[in-house]
């Protein structure tokens, strides 16, 4: 074997009851490179990384792991960390009420005879924070810093373990553009210090920007390994082709909307922060949507997109909410979620695991959750009818599952999102607000979700799509509102929409507005 490879995983096969998650997967990572792993959700990327980091210990899989030329058999995470392999999971593993320094040295306390040396802890932590470029005091509590900074703390923690091979699972999924850029820059500078990184990401532009090599996994098998800076530059389209096994010339389905009467309008909608009640989170916003129309809402993090949607959806967010809402031209009061649903408004959350699904319950129970009344007489649920409904959506929306009695927690992200959509489509709303409907979903499933959105519009529903991905908004919406600091700063028709123009509105500061 060549010695410049820091890691070789050979013929890795991992079986779960009834499923082969990985089959003869090979992965070779050169020392000092940034190696990206791409694949649709459920392709087996995370499983592979769990094997590499010892989460699935030696003996639970077949195949061989060779680290710096030595075959290794990890029995657990501590074992892999001793060999300099550190994984940072998508869901950060920090303890919120401990300080940055305490978190960095959690499990590796700077102690002598069991007594922690706090001065050493804090000074070592400060050095690590400087290395990752995080300007925070080491005694700051984790709850008091944002997700972007928490991600940096995780990396500092990895550095404290003298990491040689750093694995990052979707590191920028929860970050805004600025934090993402900083993080990617940091990964590059770590590379200059000889640290090899493996990065799993759905954001292909980021992979294009930082990766030296990309390995594509599909259906539990290695498809190909691409040299990113070879003779032919590898494009996003090239990676997508490998991931889905075909070329996706058109990432958005063709669609011409038939736009009808106005179905929902809000005027002068103002929402205050639930704790800091002096702060306006949504400020005097007015928007409308017509039947058959797909309306986008663009905005940077903190612009108040989700807050606008949730405050409208039965006052699920915020305090001191004022403004008027009109449904089919008539003013309505949406005091709680029940009232919003009765008035034909539905909201599919951006955070489906926290707010959207009961992961420990079955698909059929999740699908019926918001419209159980339709399946019940005298408070008794017709379970046969319920199962039929779930079956129908399984087929219509192509939810990949052996049975609708399967637990939702076992499904992949794209299929979970389809369950969320099924739930709200079954509630048969007139207005459907979709908050980041394609977040964390692979390219193929995204296309399916767009098709579903188009179908809903064709049925005469008004659809509002909130998204951080501007190409997505431009690709599917008839009209796009831009939000900045809680205010509607612009409204752009599809024909005039460009990323530059939207970004201009989205970054419009308060004092320069012409209002």
């Amino acid at each position: 074997m060549s010695t410049d490879h820091i890691l070789e995983m050979r013929d890795i096969t991992k079986r779960f009851p009834g499923v082969i998650a990985l089959q003869d997967v090979n992965l070779s990572v050169r020392a000092g490179e940034i190696h990206a792993i791409c694949g649709e959700n459920g392709a087996g990327k995370s499983t592979l990384m769990k094997i590499l980091s010892g989460v699935y210990p030696h003996g639970t899989y077949e195949g061989e792991i060779v680290l710096s030329g030595e075959p290794v058999e990890f029995r657990g995470i501590r074992d892999s960390e001793r060999h300099g392999v550190v994984i940072i999971h998508q869901e950060l593993a920090l303890s919120p009420f401990l300080s940055i320094a305490e978190n960095i040295f959690l499990g590796n306390e700077q102690a002598e005879r069991g007594v922690v040396d706090w001065n050493k802890t804090n000074s070592e932590a400060a050095k690590l924070l400087a290395r990752v470029g995080l300007d925070e005091r080491p005694d700051t509590k984790i709850v008091d810093i944002g997700v972007g900074k928490q991600q940096l703390v995780e990396i500092a923690k990895a550095l404290s373990k003298e990491v040689k091979l750093l694995i990052l699972d979707e590191p920028t999924a929860a970050l805004n553009d600025e934090d993402s850029a900083h993080l990617l820059g940091l990964i590059r500078s770590l590379k200059e210090h000889g640290i090899t990184s493996i990065i799993i990401s759905h954001k292909l532009n980021e992979i294009e920007a930082v990766a030296d090599t990309t390995t594509i996994i599909r259906d539990g098998k290695t498809i190909e390994t691409l040299e990113m800076h070879g003779d032919d530059a590898v494009t996003e389209e090239r990676i997508i082709r490998g991931m889905v096994g075909r070329s996706l010339d058109n990432r958005f389905p063709d669609h011409v909307s038939t736009i009808g009467e106005e179905v929902l309008r809000i005027e002068e909608w103002t929402v205050h922060h639930p704790i800091d009640q002096a702060r306006k989170v949504v400020d005097n916003a007015s928007i409308d949507v017509r039947r058959g129309e797909i309306v986008g809402i663009a905005g940077l993090m903190g612009a108040g997109r989700t807050e606008l949607a949730m405050s409208l959806f039965g006052r699920s967010y915020g305090a001191r909410i004022s403004g008027r809402a009109f449904k089919d031209g008539k003013q309505v009061e949406l005091r709680n979620v029940g009232a919003a649903i009765r008035h034909g408004i539905a909201y599919a959350t951006e955070d489906r695991k926290r707010f959207g699904l009961n992961l420990i319950d079955t698909i059929q129970h999740n699908v019926s959750a918001s419209a159980l009344g339709k399946l019940a007489r005298w408070g008794v649920v017709d379970r046969t009818a319920e199962e039929k409904v779930a079956e129908q959506y399984r087929r219509d929306l192509n939810i990949k599952t052996p049975t609708v009695s399967a637990l939702v927690g076992k499904l992949s992200g794209g299929n979970q999102q389809k369950v969320v959509l099924s739930k709200w489509i079954y509630a048969d709303p007139d207005v459907l607000i979709l908050d980041e409907p394609t977040r964390g979903i692979d390219v193929g499933a995204k296309y399916e979700i767009y098709t579903i959105i188009n179908r809903l519009a064709d049925e005469g529903k008004g659809v509002i799509v909130i998204s951080s991905e501007l190409p997505e908004l431009i690709g599917i919406c008839d009209r796009i509102y831009a939000l900045s600091q809680g205010r509607v700063t612009g409204e752009v028709a599809r024909a005039d929409a460009t990323q530059e123009r939207l970004m201009q509105y989205m970054t419009m500061e308060k004092d320069v507005t012409p209002r």
Binding site: P17, G18, S316, D361, S370, P402, T403
Partner: protein, 410 residues
């Protein structure tokens, strides 16, 4: 990927039956665990049957088993709902003493007819539940705190009302716990005919309802379990009820009245939890409170009524306990909350909420009851009995966890 999966998208729903058994079982994880608990009960019964030289399943002992443990089963029904919703209720033991005191005083000192006193007891239980439900649901204080306070409040009030003991209660009232169904059909071969009749009716009702449910599934082309498995399950249930019926029919009184009460509650609450919108909302709240609330479930109202219901059932347990003791005692109901909570967890309820069944809680209560009775027959020191029960609780939950871990999560 197994080849069976390939035709899945195009196949009609009836063809799902071809899905590999392993995956199907994964979807039925909850059920598989339920079978385990039933198995554990059978094993424990057989174990003590051997250890006690057959004394455990003597007719009068079986009747006494239900009479002694009716209170745990009644409380466990309410408690499993509380636990599934992600709460806990530590106050039920004190509420039992408090309501028992009110019922006894209302009969002895105020001369209320026993039936009115019983209804009063249920109503007072409901009011107590509403009090606690208000603080939990509408003020947002964790149930642990509210019911810990309730534990002190109602124990204190019980002492105020009862003093030490209120005795001299009407015999019809005492018969609720000590009596049996009247034997108006006489005996056949020494067997109480009323008991046999009830057993036969119960078996018949179960078979008919299961067959009808199966027929409905088939009519709608939904998945039905293989006929062999279905028949085996039905046969086992029928045999279980049959054996119990025959044993009870030889007992001194026939069917204990409390068994009928508990039986009716089990059927009613199994239906409530499994088939009604309210039951579904309880599971939805326990599984993910935020998601339930954003699906339009009025979580506060559901929480409130769960506690009202728990209060009413605590009232029922108070009546059964007071009737059995023949008197209201200020120290009655001590540790009842722990018995009920233990029954739920032995029966497979999840500490984090969202998972748990009435049948599991009942079986959990029976496991504790059989242990109590078996150890008593063996004249094991009560202190040791307590320690053994603690270990059983620990091992039952540990076994469950290990099983779950072995099943593997991806």
């Amino acid at each position: 990927m197994t080849t069976d999966l390939n035709p899945a998208p195009a196949a009609p729903p009836g063809a799902q039956a071809r899905v590999p058994l392993g995956q199907r079982m994964a979807g039925l994880g909850g059920n598989a665990r339920q079978y385990g608990i039933f198995g554990a009960l059978v094993v424990i019964v057989l174990l003590f049957q051997v250890l006690t030289d057959g004394k455990l399943l003597l007719a009068n002992n079986v009747a006494a088993l239900f009479q002694q443990n009716a209170y745990v089963m009644i409380l466990a029904i309410g408690m499993v709902m509380v636990i599934v919703a992600g709460h806990i209720d530590l106050s039920v033991g004190s509420v039992v003493a408090f309501v028992g005191g009110i019922v006894a005083v209302s009969m002895r000192d105020m001369g209320l007819p026993w039936l009115v006193a019983v209804l009063l007891g249920l109503a007072v239980g409901g009011v107590v539940g509403a009090w606690q439900g208000y603080w939990v649901a509408y003020v947002g204080i964790p149930a642990f705190i509210v019911t810990l306070a309730g534990m002190l409040i109602f124990r204190g009030l019980a002492l105020v009302i009862v003093g030490e003991t209120v005795a001299g209660l009407p015999s019809q009232f005492i018969a609720i716990s000590k009596g049996s169904l009247p034997n108006f059909l006489g005996y056949a071969n020494n067997m109480d005919v009323v008991t046999i009749l009830i057993g036969v009716l119960a078996i018949g009702a179960i078979v008919v309802s299961q067959v009808r449910a199966r027929r409905s599934l088939r009519k709608h082309e939904l998945y039905v379990e293989p006929v062999g498995l279905f028949a085996t399950k039905l046969a086992l249930v029928a045999i279980g009820i049959g054996v119990l019926t025959v044993i009870l029919s030889f007992s001194a009184g026939g069917t204990p009245t409390v068994l009928v009460i508990v039986g009716v509650l089990i059927v009613a609450y199994t239906f409530l939890m499994g088939r009604t919108v309210f039951g579904r909302h309880i599971y939805a709240i326990g599984g993910n409170r935020l998601a339930a609330s954003l699906s339009g479930v009025d979580t506060r109202r559901v929480d409130f009524w769960i506690f009202v219901n728990m209060g009413v059932l605590a009232g029922a347990a108070a009546i059964v306990t007071t009737a059995r003791a023949g008197a209201a005692i200020a120290s009655a109901g001590q540790n009842f909350e722990l018995d009920a909570i233990a029954a739920c967890f032995i029966g497979g309820a999840a500490v984090t909420g969202g998972i748990g069944r009435i049948s599991g809680a009942i079986v959990g209560a029976l496991i504790m009851g059989v242990l109590n009775m078996g150890l008593s027959i063996l004249s094991v020191d009560p202190s040791w009995q307590m320690a053994i029960k603690g270990l059983v609780l620990l091992f039952a939950v540990a076994f469950d966890l290990i099983n779950k871990r072995r099943a593997g999560t991806r």
